[in-house]
């Protein structure tokens, strides 16, 4: 269902909106700076406060370190750094979204989590080409919801992106 919902978005050419009922998908919305981002809720495992993070040698700058998630060693990515913003201060109020991406877990540090929204196909629009700077390949589309602009991101690509990918190429 997830796949069928996202397919037209990624293909970027089928915006007929004919299948409103079946094309709806739920997204978790989180805030980074002044922007609202949305990630497919099927990837979200849990939302939690941030435990003390253990730093890893030679990690890319956006990889804050690893945490102990009930016995599993899970990497934490600071989304602010990933998107070129100033690094977040990690304290007890920092929110971490634990995502499950292709069987691997990763925590992302965000400013705050706002809500879960249901978006139909006609609400999701392809993102214009911003050029290479913002890395639009991680953005699957934009959606406007009431007064807000939601940026839909493809976590799978973002996490596995060639630069600073979390997983080894062979394993990923």
């Amino acid at each position: 269902m997830n796949g069928s919902a996202q397919q037209p978005v990624m293909a970027g050419n089928d915006w007929s909106g004919a299948h409103v009922a079946t094309d709806e998908a739920e997204y978790l919305v989180f805030r980074l700076g002044e922007e609202d981002y949305a990630v497919d809720i099927l990837h979200v495992r849990e939302i939690r406060g941030c435990d003390p993070v253990t730093r890893i040698a030679e990690a890319p700058p956006h990889v804050t370190g690893v945490i102990n998630l009930r016995g599993s060693i899970v990497p934490v990515v600071d989304m602010r750094v990933r998107f070129g913003l100033k690094a977040a201060a990690i304290d007890a109020f920092t929110v971490v979204i634990i995502l499950n991406i292709a069987g691997r877990m990763v925590g992302i540090v965000v400013d705050s989590v706002s809500d879960v929204v249901r978006l139909g196909a006609q609400q999701r629009k392809p993102a214009p080409d911003f050029g290479a700077a913002l890395g639009t390949r991680y953005i699957t589309g934009l959606a406007s919801l009431e007064e807000r602009l939601l940026i839909l991101i493809d976590m799978e690509k973002l996490v596995n992106g060639t630069q600073g990918g979390l997983f080894d190429a062979a394993a990923a």
């Binding site: 435990d51 003390p52 253990t54 730093r55 890893i56 040698a57 030679e58 990690a59 370190g65 690893v66 945490i67 102990n68 009930r70 016995g71 599993s72 060693i73 899970v74 990497p75 691997r104 877990m105 990763v106 990918g165 979390l166 997983f167 080894d168 394993a171």
Partner: protein, 631 residues
Amino acid sequence: MSLLEPVRGNAAAADMSRFYQIFFEETAEQLTAMESLLLGIDTSQPAAEAIDAIFRAAHSIKGGSGTFGFRDMAALTHEAESLLARVRKRELALNAPMIDALLEAGDVLRAQLSVHRGEPGMAVDAGPVVARLNALASGAGRPKDDACITGGTDAVASSAMPAPPPGQQEPPADFGFFSPEPAAQSADPGYGLFDDGPGPAASAAPPAWGRRSTDDPTIDAAPAGRRCGEKRVVSALGEASSIRVSVDKVDQLIDLVGELVISQAMLAQRCAALREAQREPLLDGLSALERNTRSLQDAVMSIRMLPMSFVFNRFPRMLRDLALKLGKQVELRTEGEQTELDKGVIEKISDPINHLVRNALDHGIELPAARVAAGKPARGVVSLRASQRGGSALIEVEDDGNGLDRARILAAAAERGLSPSAAMSDAEVWQLIFAPGFSTAETITDVSGRGVGMDVVDRNIRALGGSVEIDSTGGSGTRISVRLPLTLAIMDGMSVSVGGYAYVIPLACVVELLAPGSRAIRSVSGQGRVVEVRSEFLPVISLAEKLDPRGPRSPNGPPGESDGQIMVIVEVDGGRTALLVDELYGQHQVVVKSIETHYRRVAGVSGATIMGDGKVALILDIGSLVRQARH
């Protein structure tokens, strides 16, 4: 319950697929059991139970593969079974060509099995084996030579065999009930009972076996019925009853218990902070909790343990084939197969031990003529022993061959520019064979002699936290002792603090701890730093620099910078290195976790563990850190 006919099995193929996995696993076990029985059998006096067990294994594989529609396997086992049936009925005497043919059939079946499993591999043509089995079963393939003589004596032996003990009087004719008409046996519900009759273990067991198979509703009747036969074969290898659980589930259990231990430690810590009066009522409960969590942890860890027989079982076949190829005679003796090691260690130790065993036969055991000339029996002995010594396992590979040749090793070492000296002790000379590329073999064979051997063995075993020792006496043999930790999941570690974070150094490589004190750390040509310990200059690695390039310390800072730090002297690849750390926390057992489950490999880090406070501490791969610093 009745065993399903092959045809019915095919019709129900869609429903069957979920049972495939069980069939695959069981068949692999059956094949292993069959192979070890075939290798253990004495052709001059074949034990009736062994032949029965082999027959049962073949029969089970045939039935199972028929049920699941794997016709190629069913057809091949049918041929093997026909031959075995005639041997069982004493119409044919077991001989060496038969064993060869049956072993080969086992290999082909294994290949077919892996094709059905969807593993990469070539489809194997069963034609030649089928033809061989056919010829042997019809008696036509029976050579006129010694096999005939064996057959003759065997017939005499069988008729002169002592009467079976009471309760086991199965007239040999009864065997015929199952064998001539393969279709008839697959429908016989009493198969498990009857068949177990002649075996010694069976007299106690039959009712239980029979009930077991009917009581198991989750498993299709056919594999369940088969399980009776299989279990009996397996029990011969020392296993009583067991269930199959995926390793993931066990690891999950281990994770959870690890969390429990942390919670328990946290509670104990909080309790200690309380006032005496408040603490008193909690103490009993807390100490009981601690005891129970520890025993729970031990019990859970033991689930991952496997007996050494998993490694040893492959050697009888390998040695047999190798001895044939080399024209040598060898007998394999194993001891302590029940010694248990962690699954991870077992998997990684298999190849090094394999190499040692091959070496023992190829380099150790002499040709029969040379052995006789030296006053030794023509048949050499390779012994494999496993035992548990405290927290580690000891595996010994011993041969009664010619021993290591000191002069030749010295000469070969000189050729390789290793500058050996004649004054070296034997032990030092033996260490030379661990040098990369070292070989004294006169000719390079496909068995050994390429010199990519002992160094790999040594490195792999060290990587597991173990060690290798050689003991050799000229003319009378060589013994190689491998010491291994019992588990990789728990490790003795030294936890240290570097840059505010905790790290764990494997205790196995820690030699000593020193406060630098008056010992000055000197910089050498601005490139690196050394410290003098017991009149030896050791390279110094500052872990803070290595582990945190973003940290405040600049590389190769002034020598005085390390004041107040502690030096951990570690030994890697025979060389010592001093590691600078900020603080020492202590020495304890840590549960090793992979960081690659959810992240990528990190250079210099072999894993992670969770400390008592719930934080993650990285376990350092000292070997790679030191090697990295050397280059």
